[in-house]
């Protein structure tokens, strides 16, 4: 079920927008820049909607029941042809990419729109929107790629844009944000990502060496090659799938901020808030999850790697969630929350619940983007204040922001019937109802479940703590000295928004996306209702999302059954029981509601006395999570300092001394020295030259005659 479709327009429109804005944006008016940026993404969205609902959907309907996924394809151009290796720029849109395309273009468009309002007071509009478009284009390439190198192009592209956008204010010299810190944050993000990227490249090399192809479709057909044994570095025996899967996952760890490569994401909050919303919540960081889902056939052939993925995900989820308890920067709380939710997605794909993981990616994009954009509205209103200790009492003045934020908080806390509940609950259920033959079938499901549930408990708590500290109670901060002289009227060039007291209210460009995203966060859960609800209502296959993705994500299971003798993660005995599913569902609700209520009680009038007492009693815990377990400091000592010392050695010693002084200057000086000596032969006196001539000729004659004599005689 394959048809061709001009998919190239989808990434091309934003890339064209980027080209226009980056190359000649400085001479365009602000409105023009906005129009180009938002228009190109809107155009991409339009093509996506038409492609999916107009073309892909009918194909998927027709293919229902068969195991063949519906696909739209396009081979845009022959990129690499080297002997037997042929890598075209090939694009494919199947149900999985359709989900991602919708997320990227829709949420992307909303964020572009929001940015027109948020960045209204900034200069360098063209550069910002150019980068934003460039990012969107790269992300779309990543999603649509049908071979790994093209995916990697998109992968690297979003990495670069992340660096550029985090460090957007590289020259800001305000009291809090020094430009250099922003640039360093961007650098940190790029370098940590790089570590993952190296592993990704190695994974690609392994796959290529074993199968001779890097096209995803072709790789899926080569299960027998993927199961061949490998002895990397003399260890083993492992399979190609295992080694390559592990390497690709390490790449995903970097991009999607899992332990131990998550440290860049909290620092990335130095960038403008729309950037945090788009890149570090909805899209770039989910690229790792997408890649694992796309390569599900590879991972399913290696249950050991999948077990590792699930464990890393669960650990990250719990670890990051615990840090959220004490942070007092609103964006940092959301950053750790993102890391934690990404952990959930990896738990899901680690137990083979690919559609559940992607569903959580989908719902998370909506509520997390809404939360970040809401945080942006708050920061904007408070004239760049980000410290929770200075907030409070914003419920009435920032009404729209408040309600959308509340809806999204309920969603992320996992309270039904909002979307977050359904996606998170599905993951928890599948975690406990899946057996992994490579690791302990007894302890692993239980461990994953317990960790994920604990993380959910923490999530609900710290999100409502955040909500309470921002919106409830009384305003704690002093009215800030206005940084741009707003006494009453506004100069032109600001997209709406008035004032309430000293607050700078968000305009319609900022509020509309909030409303749309909150709506999504609330309603999209209906697409992924769990089986047990279906059983109760008497509807089969009630999980529409799973139905949509099934042909793509079930590939792995079928392959493993056929080629690996069923040695794969599979549903265990618990999966049958609807009763248990219902029970655990209620348990999730109870945990979510209970934890939220507790947080609400503690923080509803700002940080209460009770909170202060708890903090004092649990001081060790408080300090531990406030300082993020000192992981950054640890990395600094173990990795950064030695590396910098090495760089200094290389620079001072090798570059300056050996290469410059010894090498370059040394060569020059020795030539000069020899010349100085030899120069003395130039006496200018002909007779001296004659002497030289005589000596030379004599030596020559002696040599020749002597050689002849010796050769002939002896």
């Amino acid at each position: 079920m394959t048809k061709t479709f001009p998919l190239l327009w989808i990434p091309l429109l934003p890339l064209l927008g980027a080209a226009i804005n980056l190359l000649c944006g400085r001479v365009l008016s602000r409105r023009a820049v906005h129009a180009v940026a938002c228009g190109s993404v809107a155009g991409a969205l339009g093509v996506v909607v038409f492609a999916i609902f107009g073309r892909l959907w009918p194909l998927a309907w027709a293919a229902e029941g068969t195991h063949v996924p519906a696909r739209l394809v396009q081979t845009a151009y022959a990129w690499i042809t080297a002997g037997s290796v042929e890598l075209p720029v090939g694009l494919v849109c199947d149900p999985l990419s359709a989900v991602m395309l919708l997320v990227v273009t829709l949420v992307g468009f909303l964020i572009h729109l929001y940015s027109t309002g948020y960045m209204a007071h900034e200069r360098d509009h063209a550069r910002f929107f150019g980068y934003l478009n460039l990012f969107t284009g790269a992300m779309l390439i990543l999603v649509l790629a049908d071979n790994l190198p093209l995916l990697f192009v998109g992968w690297e592209g979003v990495g670069v844009c992340s660096y550029l956008l985090i460090g957007f204010w590289y020259d800001k010299d305000g009291t809090e944000r020094l430009g250099l810190a922003n640039a360093m944050a961007g650098r940190k993000a790029f370098l940590v990502n790089r570590v993952g990227d190296v592993a990704f490249l190695l994974g690609m090399l392994v796959l290529f060496a074993a199968t001779g192809t890097l096209s995803i479709e072709s790789l899926a057909l080569r299960a027998s090659d993927l199961l061949l044994p490998l002895h990397p570095l003399g260890l083993g025996p492992y399979t190609v799938a295992g080694v390559a899967g592990l390497l690709l996952f390490i790449g995903a760890m970097g991009k999607s901020a899992q332990i131990p490569l998550y440290v860049w994401l909290p620092d990335a909050m130095a960038g403008p808030t729309p950037v945090s919303a788009l890149i570090h919540a909805a899209t770039m960081v989910t690229a790792g999850v997408y890649m694992v889902a796309r390569m599900n056939f590879l991972f399913m052939l290696s249950p050991a790697v999948m077990g590792l993925i699930a464990l890393v995900g669960a650990t990250t989820a719990l670890f990051a969630a615990s840090i959220g308890f004490a942070q007092h920067d609103i964006k940092k709380v959301l950053a750790y929350s993102t890391i934690s939710q990404l952990g959930y997605m990896f738990v899901a794909v680690g137990v083979g619940a690919f559609s559940a993981g992607i569903f959580h990616l989908f719902t998370h994009a909506f509520f997390k983007a809404c939360l970040f954009l809401g945080a942006g509205a708050i920061i904007h209103a408070l004239h760049d204040e980000q410290d929770l200790r200075q907030m409070g009492g914003l419920r009435r003045p920032l009404a729209t922001t408040h309600w959308t934020f509340l809806v999204s908080t309920l969603a992320i806390a996992g309270i039904p019937p909002l979307s977050g509940f359904f996606s998170k609950d599905e993951i928890l259920w599948r975690a406990i109802a899946t057996a992994n033959p490579a690791l302990g079938s007894t302890w692993l499901p239980a461990l994953l479940y317990v960790m994920s549930l604990a993380a959910a408990l923490c999530t609900a708590f710290y999100m409502f703590r955040l909500y309470g500290l921002v919106f409830l109670g009384e305003r704690r901060g002093a009215a800030p000295a206005s940084s741009h002289g707003h006494a009453g009227g506004h100069a032109g060039g600001h997209a709406g928004g008035g004032h309430a007291g000293d607050l700078h209210l968000p305009g319609p460009a900022m509020e509309a996306p909030l409303i749309v995203l909150a709506g999504g966060a609330a309603l999209l859960g209906l697409l992924g209702l769990p089986e047990v609800v279906g059983a109760w209502l008497g509807i089969e296959h009630i999980n529409l999302f799973e139905r949509w993705l099934a042909p793509v994500v079930d590939q792995g299971a079928r392959l493993a059954d056929r080629w690996a003798g069923g040695h794969r993660v599979a549903a265990n005995a618990l999966a049958e029981s609807h009763g248990l599913e219902a029970l655990l569902l209620l348990l999730s609700v109870a945990v979510a509601v209970g934890s939220s209520a507790l947080a609400w009680k503690l923080y509803r009038a700002g940080p209460s006395a009770l909170v202060a007492r708890l903090t004092a009693r649990l001081r060790w815990f408080y300090r531990l999570v406030l300082n993020k377990y000192w992981v950054d400091e640890l990395y600094d000592w173990i990795i950064v300092r030695p590396y910098k010392a090495l760089a200094v050695v290389l620079f001072q010693l090798i570059d300056r001394l050996v290469i410059d002084r010894l090498g370059v200057h040394g060569a020059a000086r020795s030539v000069d020295g020899v010349g100085r000596v030899l120069r003395r032969l130039q006496t200018g006196s002909v007779q001296h030259y004659v002497v030289g001539l005589v000596i030379g000729v004599t030596a020559l004659v002696v040599g020749v005659v002597g050689a002849a004599l010796l050769g002939g005689g002896g």
């Binding site: 130039q682 006496t683 006196s685 007779q687 004659v690 005589v694």
Partner: protein
């Protein structure tokens, strides 16, 4: 008949005297004369070998060398005259402008 070795010995001796003259004497005209002496020493050696071999090849080459020596003397003298006109001296150690 004079033994060939003596002829060659004389030629070598003359050559060395000429060489010594070229190296040691300051006056360029004397140097030129010494060069002539070296050339003629070579001629003597050639003629001596021709005699020993019984053919005239050596003598033929000697002829050529005589012609060459004449040409070289002419040019050499022209150079000395030119140097004198330029530097007002014929002493080799006084024309060392190309020294470092």
């Amino acid at each position: 008949m004079v033994p060939t070795s003596q002829v060659l010995g004389l030629a070598a001796l003359l050559f060395c005297i000429g060489l010594a003259g070229v190296i040691v004497r300051r006056n360029l005209l004397i140097v030129l004369m010494s060069v002539e002496l070296m050339l003629n020493a070579a001629n003597l050696a050639l003629v001596g070998f021709a005699r020993a071999r019984g053919d005239l090849e050596g003598q033929g080459l000697a002829f050529l060398i005589v012609a060459l020596a004449a040409a070289e003397a002419a040019v050499g003298l022209a150079i000395v005259v030119s140097v004198f006109r330029s530097r007002r001296t014929v002493y080799a150690d006084e024309v060392t402008l190309l020294r470092r």
